[in-house]
């Protein structure tokens, strides 16, 4: 392909979890390099597989040819100094000057390097600048030096430009670029000569390397789905595992294997976690979403009987171990585990996990809550959670059921780590939501109270995430997590609990917790809910106490944002302002609906307000409020609201209050 640039850096196996980000990083870095070297190109695309990172640039040329160009200088009448300066800057002599229209001109050649000369620099800079989450150096014996940093040792570099090979020595990795690469490590290890990208992609495919990450991923997904569908089953959806599997092979072969029925006695989460974590096996389900005794997996080479036998042996060993832990765990009660929580440090300044549980107890309310709090951390001492930390909570819930705790308590224990972040689901149960809230608030109060605050990218105790989860529990949950009390009560009670344990938190802890939570709430509203900054600020600043309802703040902001976007919003705002100016901020709540007005304006307004309340269509409703606002403005012009007759004044004011309430409740103006 004409003027096409192809670069492949063949290395030892690139960690799977780095690959997806590497695609976009490589593209950004390479584009920047091309721009820095003043080149022109139509596109940069990147490809990745477990052993190679590839960059393709279409139609790469230098920015301009070295054609002479006329450059205008100073006026002929300009001082001598300016003319000297013009000549020096362009490296020319007085004889070179051309005079036209009263100006001096010079014939200048602009300079742009040839792409061929720049290619070694592109490669050198790319290796230097490509960011990997973790990289390494290796020893280059021929040069007796350490290499540049790369994710794993680079073994070969392919480079083609304009259909021809590029042979450039890249000193930092001790390699000369060439026009051949290698196929699959086991299935096609011989060198492959390549002429351009199309040829490269095709030949690699023939040699068992799929260079397109997305295509490879959907290929695996499709193949696995088909294979399990053929036996009437479902693949349990796991994007994380799919991505990981994609990065672990150059060419995917899928296999569906069986699990010995004896292991089906293990709780489903244990089975799928053990398979996923240790073996990277997908779980397979019956149509009714119950785990089936099968697994799906991806291999880098075609399956053989010996291989399948090996897989079964490995799985058996893994699951035997899980069974060993599970059996040992169910011999011990959660209470017995909980008694050992004092051996687990929560944080050196904030005491043990047992102490954390005691503090959470101080804000718990019902009998179920007390029980769930007492047992919620017990599974940290279980062997299975020791082996699979991601099963914390899940195992607690399972063990609670086995020892006949109530369903509510067992569910609360299982759910109390949820949500774990912005995208995780909230607990389904009220008690689970409450325990989750206690746990996260205790963490936040403790760390902030010790003066440990996140700064910049440093947030080692994930306090921002704890705050986010608290905010989500307060805003998004269907339950009223706070019950009868306000946030200050919970924070203060926790501070006292710390103090009872001999841990003195900073005196301004209550204030700091509010400040931190509100600052995170603001970010949540603007960044996650996409609420306009001004709307968010105006809503939050309208509350006069820090104990305002986060849920209300979000609801009001959403309403206001919606209203703002509609025509007529200005009219409503003006009418509201006008009304409040006349009747004052104090608005009587009671309105006698049976009042009759003699004044035609007031009569008209009353009718409209009444009609409006029966409108269900959202946009029609809004239009009707706009119309009412217009009537309000007209009325205020023509009617003396504050009539000297106190009875009449009260009647007038009362109708306008009804308008104010209508707007405040439905439009979100505060």
């Amino acid at each position: 392909m004409q003027k096409e640039f192809l670069l492949e850096i063949l290395s030892e196996e690139i960690p799977s979890r780095f690959q997806r980000d590497a695609l976009s990083n490589a593209s950004t870095v390479f584009t920047k390099i091309l721009n820095d070297y003043c080149t022109k190109f139509s596109s940069v695309s990147t490809y990745i597989s477990s052993r190679r990172l590839t960059v393709v640039v279409k139609y790469l040329i230098k920015k301009f040819d070295n054609v002479p160009e006329e450059k205008r200088g100073p006026k002929v009448s300009a001082p001598e100094r300016s003319i000297e300066g013009f000549l020096n800057a362009n490296g020319k002599q007085r004889d070179d000057l051309i005079v036209r229209n009263g100006y001096y001109y010079l014939q200048v050649e602009t300079h742009s390097d040839d792409i061929e000369d720049l290619i070694p620099l592109f490669i050198r800079d790319f290796i230097l600048k490509m960011p990997w989450p973790k990289s390494m150096r290796w020893y280059i014996s021929s040069q007796k030096m350490l290499s540049a940093f790369w994710v794993r040792p680079i073994r070969s570099i392919l480079c083609i430009y304009d259909d021809g090979p590029v042979n450039a020595f890249i000193e930092s990795v001790g390699l000369t670029t060439c026009d051949y690469t290698y196929g699959h490590r086991f299935l096609a290890p011989d060198p492959i000569k390549v002429s351009d990208f199309e040829d490269y992609e095709n030949k690699l495919k023939e040699n068992y390397v799929l260079i397109d990450y997305r295509k490879k991923m959907s290929f695996i997904d499709r193949e696995l789905l088909q294979r399990v569908a053929a036996i009437g089953l479902h693949l349990s959806n796991d994007d994380e595992l799919l991505e990981e599997s994609t990065g672990l092979v150059e060419y995917p072969f899928v296999h569906v294997g069986t699990i010995d029925t004896e292991f089906m006695k293990l709780p489903a989460p244990v089975l799928s976690t053990a398979m996923k974590v240790h073996q990277k096996y997908f779980s397979v389900e019956y149509p009714e979403l119950i785990l089936a005794p099968f697994f799906g997996t991806v291999t880098n080479v075609p399956g053989t009987d010996v291989m399948y036998e090996g897989m079964n042996r490995v799985l058996k060993a893994r699951l035997s171990d899980a069974m060993f832990f599970y059996k040992a765990d169910i011999d011990v009660t959660l209470e017995a585990f909980a008694q050992r929580l004092s051996n687990i440090v929560f944080h050196e300044k904030l005491g043990s996990m047992a102490q954390k549980v005691d503090r959470m107890m101080s804000i718990a309310n019902s009998k179920d809550e007390h029980r769930a709090v007492a047992l919620c951390k017990a599974d940290l001492l279980s062997q299975l959670v020791g082996e699979f930390p991601e099963l914390q909570g899940t195992m607690g819930g399972i063990y609670a059921k086995i020892q006949d705790e109530s369903a509510n308590v067992a569910t609360a224990i299982r759910e109390h780590y949820k949500p774990t972040g912005a995208n995780d689901v909230l607990p389904d149960s009220f008690t689970g939501s409450r325990i989750s809230f206690f746990d996260k608030l205790d963490t936040l109060v403790g760390f902030l109270g010790m003066g440990i605050t996140p700064s910049g990218s440093k947030d080692p105790f994930a306090l921002r995430r704890s705050a986010l989860c608290i905010i989500r529990l307060l805003c998004d949950s269907e339950f009223n997590v706070l019950e009868e009390d306000n946030l200050s009560w919970y924070v203060t009670t926790l501070i006292n609990a710390f103090s009872d344990q001999g841990v003195a938190l900073y005196p301004d802890t209550l204030e700091n917790v509010h400040k931190f939570l509100i600052s995170r709430l603001k970010i949540y509203m603007t960044d996650k809910l996409m609420i306009n900054q001004e709307v968010m600020e105006s809503v939050i600043s309208s509350f006069d106490s820090v104990d305002f309802s986060y849920k209300d703040a979000v609801a009001k902001s959403k309403k206001l944002s919606k209203s703002l976007a509609r025509a007529g919003f200005g009219t409503i705002k003006e009418a509201l302002k006008r009304t409040l100016g006349i009747i004052g901020k104090e608005t009587p709540e009671n309105f006698d609906e049976n009042i009759d007005f003699l004044d035609s304006h007031m009569k008209n307004l009353k009718n409209h307000i009444e009609v409006c309340q029966n409108i269900h269509d959202e946009s029609e409703f809004f239009s009707s409020i706009v119309r009412i606002s217009e009537i309000v403005l007209e009325t205020c012009e023509n009617v003396l609201i504050n009539d000297p007759d106190p009875d009449l004044r009260d009647k007038n004011a009362s109708l306008l209050c009804r308008f104010v309430k209508l707007v405040q409740d439905n439009i979100g103006i505060v």
Partner: protein, 294 residues
């Protein structure tokens, strides 16, 4: 013995020894004190530091007290064998060299799914870190493959590669047996056949009980303190290798204490930091001594 006889555990070891001897390694013997991994052999840790070349291979019996299962788990034991290779500097294509070694011990690569799965290795108590993979065979980790980047808290000036084979796991694949204890050790199929279980099952059972239930805590605590004191004292005498040995012994005491379940999380961090200090001091002293040498 007949031709189609199973490849014995000891034959696997002999073949590895031969392969790496042919490559040019010194074939040395195991470290004669309890270690958790071949990395702790001075032939790895100390020799990996500094310039110059060092190619060595050896079998190392390893002790991981917490992994004991009273010989009831087919694949997890508190005592097992590693085959350790250290090549400094790492040669041009160590991955292929490794795959060749598998072929050499009769491991049919073509029939298996062999993969390099990211696993950066770190031993905080030795201040050592490296980048590499665990090598998977049909989903089981059979080898750890690491390019050292740092040892004893010191960045490597020449990058070594460490290849650590899990001998029992490889043998279960080659012999197609389910349990480590069923591995044929001497290769005989008659009444004089000896399995891994015959050799080590009782050892495994008794040591599991020792590690988990019976070992004297007071004695171990005392030993730990003594080894630590001795280690730091020896460093002052510039006796780096004896000092290092005290550090390794202290580490093992700690591992048994940990298995006995008497080390709380806070204490654990405290012990590890003490071991790290010992190891770091040893590595630094080693480097200084070497630099003094002509």
């Amino acid at each position: 013995m007949s031709q189609n006889c199973v490849k014995s555990f000891q034959d696997i070891i002999f073949d590895l020894q031969k392969f790496w001897a042919d490559y040019g390694c010194v074939i040395i013997q195991p470290y004669d004190t309890e270690v958790g991994a071949g990395t702790s052999h001075f032939a790895t840790t100390l020799k990996a530091i500094g310039d110059g070349h060092w190619d060595a291979a050896f079998v190392q019996p390893c002790r991981r007290p917490k992994d004991g299962r009273y010989a009831e788990n087919p694949n997890r034991t508190q005592y097992y064998y590693q085959y350790q290779v250290i090549l400094k500097p790492a040669p041009l294509d160590p991955q292929q060299l490794y795959l060749d070694s598998l072929q050499a011990i009769g491991f049919g690569i073509a029939e298996h799914d062999v993969r390099f799965v990211e696993d950066d290795w770190e031993n905080p108590s030795l201040g050592a870190a490296g980048v590499g993979w665990e090598i998977w065979c049909d989903g089981m980790e059979i080898t750890q493959f690491t390019y050292f980047q740092q040892v004893g808290g010191i960045s490597c000036s020449v990058i070594p590669v460490e290849i650590t084979y899990g001998l029992e796991r490889i043998a279960t694949f080659i012999q197609s047996v389910e349990s480590h204890f069923d591995i044929n050790w001497n290769g005989r199929e008659d009444e004089r056949k000896l399995t891994y279980g015959d050799v080590l099952k009782r050892f495994e059972k008794e040591f599991s009980a020792f590690n988990f239930d019976v070992a004297s805590i007071d004695m171990l605590l005392e030993h730990f303190n003594d080894y630590e004191e001795e280690c730091l004292r020896l460093i002052h005498h510039n006796l780096v290798m004896p000092a290092y040995e005290q550090c390794v012994k202290a580490n093992h005491c700690f591992n048994v204490l940990d298995a006995r379940g008497v080390v709380s999380v806070t204490e654990k961090a405290w012990y590890i930091s003490r071991i790290r200090t010992m190891a770091k001091n040893c590595c630094q002293a080693w480097l200084e001594c070497r630099q003094e040498a002509p």
